[in-house]
């Protein structure tokens, strides 16, 4: 057990630090440092542009997607070097959240299932942030039950023709490419009739309509497909094997989201350190301290859990279903933390206009974004199922539609 850098790690850290020091967009540092879940916009700049510029700079110098192989635009780094980079990148790392779906899910899926020539063509510009990718899985009829999706893909010569609708697609409005899960055979049970593709989002027949979210922002979209043509060589995996392919994506999603998820604790601790209550400083109040301590050990527990996962990775073990723990714990924690921070402000916690918002605003933004965290990438309930079934070995839920041909499954709950 050792937390210190080895000599090679120390050297890597020094090189990374020097490069970041010389190249990072420092003019945004303060704003990025103050940002938190739900509040990552920059006041006087388009965050996507800033993120793309930083990502390109990193890629040109060999610092993009560190753990990816060099030939696909990465650096071939060890998992631990990746952590060191993240520590050194600090607040500038917030910018790479813009690419989390492409880097965390689409990239690994392409790497596992695309043809070699496609990997060499599509992965480097994904790594460098020049091209943005999205993940087209969820549909009105299939979120948790992804395999319940209905978007059809029908073979026509060397092409597939796509018709249907996706929903909640994050970043589709600024994406260049997407990975798309479709149904190619409705006459077999639902998991067996799926096929995965990647496609150009500018293809004729693709229509993206932003959705306004509960938080007020518009990060996700509806995507409609009308006779969209995808060449067969853009298929990922075998026809009918889309479920398996999507499992690779989802597994990567869990570790990508799990590792990046914020808890709100540092913000709350900082806040309580300066806040005055009626009876004195908040941090000296017994009830406040008890709350803080409870969240402190959750936050540190998550941090060290991910370090344990990285230690396992660096010994060649694969990321397992236990990675579901990060988002499960952090999702409701950040919601509770935000609620509590506002509670400490009493009636004024409700105000979100200019000056008053300086303190409350941060937690209000968290509060309004947190419900999405508990749903995206698998709901709390699905995460608990995964832990119970895949980590603890408990029986799967009873699936009444498991062996029924997809086109015979009832489609409405009531009436």
């Amino acid at each position: 057990m050792n937390f210190d850098d080895t000599p090679q790690e120390a050297e890597f850290r020094a090189t990374a630090r020097a490069w970041i020091g010389a190249n990072a967009p420092k003019q945004y540092e303060e704003e990025l440092r103050k940002s938190s879940l739900g509040r990552t916009a920059l006041k006087n700049a388009n965050i996507l542009e800033v993120a793309k510029a930083w990502q390109k700079k990193k890629a040109d110098a060999g610092w993009a997607c560190l753990h990816w192989p060099k030939e696909y635009g990465g650096r071939g780094s060890s998992p631990i070097e990746r952590v060191i980079w993240q520590q050194e990148e600090g607040p500038f790392g917030q910018l790479s959240r813009m690419f989390i779906i492409g880097h965390g899910m689409c990239g690994p899926t392409m790497m596992a299932f695309a043809r070699e020539e496609h990997k060499r063509t599509y992965l480097p510009p994904l790594a460098s942030g020049e091209k943005v990718w999205c993940q087209l899985f969820s549909e009105p009829a299939g979120g948790s039950d992804v395999a319940g999706l209905r978007t059809r893909a029908e073979k026509d010569g060397d092409d597939w023709v796509i018709n249907g609708q996706k929903i909640w697609t994050s970043g589709a409005h600024y994406s260049d490419y997407g990975i798309l899960l479709t149904r190619t055979d409705p006459t077999v049970p639902k998991h067996k009739g799926l096929t995965m593709f990647f496609l150009d989002m500018k293809s004729p027949g693709v229509e993206v309509r932003p959705i306004k979210q509960a938080s007020g922002a518009s990060d996700f979209n509806e995507v409609y497909f009308t006779n969209v043509r995808i060449p067969d060589h853009q298929r990922l995996g075998e026809v009918g094997d889309g479920w398996n392919v999507s499992l690779t994506t989802l597994m990567n999603e869990r570790s990508a989201i799990g590792a990046a998820v914020s808890t709100g604790f540092p913000e709350l601790f900082e806040y309580c350190s300066s806040l005055m209550l009626d009876d004195g400083p908040a941090i000296e109040d017994r009830a406040v301290r008890s709350k803080l301590a409870n969240w402190a050990v959750k936050a540190s527990g998550l941090k060290y859990t991910s370090m344990r996962a990285i230690s396992a990775l660096s010994k060649g073990e694969r990321p397992g279903p236990e990675n579901s723990i990060g988002k499960l714990v952090a999702g409701s924690m950040i919601q509770d933390v935000a609620t509590y921070a506002l509670d400490l402000q009493g009636a004024s916690g409700v105000i979100s206009s200019a000056e008053d918002a300086e303190l409350a605003g941060r937690f209000q933004a968290m509060l309004l974004r947190a419900p999405g965290t508990r749903v995206e990438g698998g709901t709390d309930e699905i995460m608990r199922n995964i832990i119970a079934e895949r980590v603890l070995g408990l029986p799967g839920d009873i699936r009444v539609d498991k062996d029924v041909p997809f086109n015979k499954i009832p489609t409405k709950g009531r009436g």
Binding site: K298, G301, E322, G393, L394
Partner: protein
């Protein structure tokens, strides 16, 4: 960076687990639980023979000299097996106090005796209600003579010697407290067993009447030594609690797979699955916090005070959470004396108080985090 135990340490864990599975079955634990013995003497002897009692004691004092990471590994197994022996009081509290503050002669006298299983030690700190604090120490020491009453003293009724916290000044500050070593068999003490929440680890009241004692560490240094001892013990107890959490989770999982209701395994009901998933979550967070504590302990890092408090809180919560839900998964069976669930429930709740309550450690954690942030 490498955030895991080494292969050798894992081997030691397997060895300890195997040994305890053999020598410390629930049936053996019940002999002590039912009051038929104050602790499991056979097991104690066996632990000494395996070298587990002295694993972190240097070779020159009769130990194995392996280190604290190895002790953490064994602590986890002791918790898993719910071992009914005075391990924590002797090895985490008494031995650590000696290692930190003992003179060469004191170490030579007691440490080999601990390692070989001949001497049981304890820490006499508490005096009734209240958490660790200099103001709660009323027992006095004057000219090497102690007067006052300590309770509860963990394993006090079976201990051969005690490290005693005594008041030697009246300024109201930390410097008023000094530590003393008392040979409990040498006279001047009256020991009374107390019934307690967890009979598998006894508690006692010890009255010191004009009792001769030798100083342990410098006069006025008592509180700072105690703080270090408690921090170390917090990490080591956290490993016992992690072991207990894991065992309680495992028992719950096994029962959920076995028991049929409404024509299904109860483990197929989501309410039960999710309860077990949440137990896994708290046990995992506790384990990770404890690993960090283990690293800090083994390297004597500046992070130890904060890491120890975090491990303590997290592991206390996890063990309580897992132990209580294990009973719930077991339904009515879980509430019988017959089933083992209550042994872990008792241990979890007794351990939650042993080094000071959760509230105390929460307070400590925030203090320590503030200090770090200020620095």
């Amino acid at each position: 960076m490498n955030f895991d135990f080494s292969d050798d340490q894992k081997q030691l864990r397997d060895q300890a687990r195997k040994f305890l599975a053999e020598k410390c079955s629930p049936k053996a634990v019940r002999v002590v639980l039912d009051g038929k013995a104050p602790y499991d003497k056979e097991l104690w002897k066996g632990l000494a023979e395996m070298g587990f009692l002295g694993v972190a004691i240097p070779e020159e004092f009769g130990g194995a000299g392996a280190g604290h990471l190895e002790l953490c590994v064994i602590a986890e197994e002791m918790g898993r097996a719910n071992a009914p022996v005075p391990f924590s009081s002797t090895v985490y509290l008494a031995a650590e106090a000696l290692l930190i503050a003992g003179s060469d002669a004191q170490k030579k006298k007691w440490l080999p005796a601990i390692a070989s299983g001949e001497a049981i030690g304890t820490l006499a700190l508490f005096e009734g209600k209240g958490n660790p604090a200099p103001k709660n120490v009323k027992l006095t020491a004057a000219n090497g003579v102690l007067n006052g009453v300590k309770k509860p003293v963990a394993d006090g009724a079976v201990a051969d010697f005690a490290v005693v916290a005594a008041r030697t000044g009246s300024s109201g500050r930390d410097g008023d407290i000094s530590l003393f070593l008392v040979d409990l068999k040498a006279g001047g003490v009256e020991v009374k067993s107390l019934t307690n929440l967890d009979p598998t680890r006894g508690q006692a009241e010890i009255a010191f009447k004009d009792c001769k004692a030798e100083p342990l560490g410098a006069a006025g240094e008592g509180w700072s030594i105690l703080t270090q001892v408690l921090d170390r013990a917090a990490v080591l107890c956290a490993f016992e609690q992690v072991g207990g959490s894991d065992r309680a989770l495992e028992m719950g999982r096994d029962y959920a797979l076995d028991r049929i209701a409404f024509g299904r395994q109860i483990g197929s009901f989501q309410a039960v699955k999710h309860m077990l998933a949440d137990m896994y979550v708290s046990a995992t967070l506790a384990r990770s916090n404890s690993y960090y504590g283990a690293w800090a302990l083994s390297t004597n890092a500046a992070e130890l005070p904060e890491a120890a408090a975090a491990a303590r809180i997290s592991a206390t919560q996890a063990f309580q959470h897992c132990a209580k839900n294990n009973i719930q998964v077991h339904g009515g069976m879980g509430f019988t004396w017959e089933f083992d669930c209550h042994m872990y429930y008792r241990r979890a709740n007794a351990m939650a108080l042993g080094l000071g309550s959760l509230t105390y450690w929460e307070d400590q954690l925030i203090d320590r985090m503030r200090k770090k942030n200020a620095a």
